[in-house]
Amino acid sequence: MIEKFDPLKGKMLRILGPDGRCDEKLKPDLSDDTVQTLYRHMVFIRQADQRALSLQRQGRMGTYAPVQGQEAAQVGSAYALGENDWIFPSFRETGACYMRGVPLRDIYLYWMGDERGQRVPEDVHVFPASIPVGSHPLHAVGAAWAAKLQVQGICTLVYFGDGGTSEGDFHEAMNFAGVFQTPTIFFCQNNQYAISVPRKIQTAAKTLAQKAIAYGFGGVQVDGNDLFAVYAATKDAREKAVSGGGPTMIEAVTYRFGPHTTADDPAKYRSDEELEEWRPLDPLLRLQKYLQGKKLWSEDWEAQIKDEAEKSITQAVQEAEGIPEPQPEEFFHYAFAEMTPNLKEQMNDFLAFLKEKGE
């Protein structure tokens, strides 16, 4: 299906319009129940994200990269994957990580300055967040290549942003994926800004999706605030990947409503008018309108799911804050499988210092 939407011809896949009306011909096969559940996840992620911002403001969390506005892009893509597929997130993937089974407690723990939040449960295939922009698509290609060689029947999906497409490693990853026909989905959330730098400064190309063409595989631009379009495109790309068809790049056109991180002020680099233009395209609003049209939404239900979300988020915060502080020497233990003699000496000297101090 996605090959019908050629980015070079200015085509972008959109199924659910901003008014909540849906193109029934293109609508993916999702039951009403499922759509309601996905909406609930999106509501949950938005609230979890807002809670993180307030924790940061209260000094209970460090710098945090908010996800508001990108819920459909993350929920739709993460939900379209198979159980054993891997995701390779960057640092703004609270939604996708949560959808793939990372407990919210752990996501919070990580942003509270604790590496233990990045040790995912054994049955979860989510790689730790990669902060150096555009560096990790290569890892997703390598893991997909390994999956192909071992006939695992899975794919990998890597999340990155518009800024990431400017990095050399991104291009090397695309090239390797094309050459070795790896089952990789390059999922770009084009949220229009790399901190303050607008998308037009990242590339002179009209779309990011078209970059795939130069590497010998398909790219598609989708409305990233349209849950159905994101889901449909990712599902298509996944089927192609696991059936030996090679990689796909998906550019989800979206918008970051919040700052890059809690450390910057977007008012410095973008206008209120622009923000207001995007407001009506809010992915939650759109899906809510759709559900209303189908009589699958009520104010009571909305209040109920928000209340449930709040309770579960509060519990995650309590759990994250309730985890005892790491041992001071904790970081010595993950340099190697077996600590080297010199490192052991450094650690013992450090412990002796703490003892002298009475800690």
């Binding site: 730098v197 990242q202 001071p328 340099a335 080297t340 010199n342 450094q346 450090f350």
Partner: protein, 325 residues
């Protein structure tokens, strides 16, 4: 004279140099409209225009590689890397080309450019935002590595870096950025590259440091004073080339030395400084030189960073150990 913090001092230095020399150009991610994530380039784009203060694509290797081209063809680029933790993609350009152009062309071409980058820990930042890999940089021939520790020196050194005929990596201790204010004169002055400074005089022991660790060393020096030990503290200010003379003169006087850096211990600059002391002043030593440093591990996230960074207490312990030898 105006009191300024380090961010304002560097900003002032950049502005004055851009006024003086139209070939000076600032480029990097978010340096223009945003004025840099730490505001070091704040106001420069509105003053000098988007041709001279340029927001670039997000590509460290790209920024540094094109800066080489700009430098060999008439400009003085001052490129910003957002954090030292994001320097690695650009290391290829620095190691493979920028450091070698003078040699490769037998002096026909040179690469006068500055790469600015915030570095070091202590600000509760995410991964890759706290590293200090200045020793990796000092290991590259043909590159100068400057690390100011005060606003006054930062302005004088950025001016010297811009005027230097060779590439200068300018590492800014972000923990100091807004921590102190001091008199920073308007108008022209320079602090020479390659000159360390004795920031506290003493006869009993030499404490050598740079960047954000200078303040910790001074703090430890005050603590040990109560024990009757008068420590001399040296701020290297430039870590490549090292100012051997200032180091050796002090060590000959005190006979005892502690080196403090927040970077990883193994193959850190402390090791090189010890080698220089051995070469030039070993007979003056009355005790083995002690290193108080970060550990040979990844810099931890912020719950544990205070354990990783040398504290005045850890430095004090190092001083006592050397004094007791």
């Amino acid at each position: 004279m105006a009191k300024r913090n380090m961010v304002e001092a560097i900003n002032r230095g950049l502005m004055e140099e851009m006024e003086r020399d139209p070939s000076v150009m600032v480029l990097g991610e978010d340096v223009g409209k945003e004025g840099g994530v730490f505001r070091v380039t704040d106001g420069l784009q509105s003053k000098f225009g988007p041709q001279r203060v340029v927001d670039t694509p997000l590509a460290e290797s790209g920024i540094i590689g094109v800066a080489l081209g700009l430098a060999v063809n008439g400009f003085k680029p001052v490129a910003e890397l957002q954090f030292m933790g994001f320097l690695p993609p650009a290391l290829d350009q620095i190691i493979s080309h920028i450091s070698r152009i003078r040699n490769r062309s037998r002096g026909r071409y040179a690469c006068p450019m500055v790469v600015r980058m915030p570095y070091g820990g202590g600000i509760h930042a995410p991964e890759h935002h706290s590293e200090s890999i200045e020793a990796v940089l000092a290991h590259i021939p043909g590159i100068k590595v400057v690390i100011p520790s005060t606003p006054h020196d930062a302005k004088g050194l950025i001016v010297s870096a811009i005027r230097d005929p060779d590439p200068v990596l300018f590492c800014e201790p972000k923990r100091v950025y807004r921590a102190i204010k001091e008199e920073v004169p308007d108008g022209e002055y320079t602090v020479p590259i390659g000159e360390a400074k004795v920031v506290r005089e003493g006869d009993d022991i030499t404490v050598i440091s740079w960047g954000s660790m200078v303040r910790e060393a001074l703090h430890a020096a005050e603590m040990v004073k109560e024990e009757g030990v008068n420590a001399e503290v040296i701020d290297l200010r430039t870590v490549s080339p090292l100012d051997d003379e200032t180091i050796v003169t002090s060590v000959r006087k005190t006979g005892r030395t502690v080196i403090v850096h927040e970077a990883v211990k193994t193959c850190g600059l402390g090791a090189e400084i010890i080698a220089r002391i051995n070469e030039k002043a070993i007979l003056s030593l009355e005790a083995p030189v002690e290193r108080v440093t970060g550990f040979d591990t990844v810099f931890p996230l912020y719950k544990l960073e205070h354990h990783y960074l040398p504290s005045p207490e850890r430095i004090l312990r190092g001083i006592r150990k050397v004094m007791a030898f």
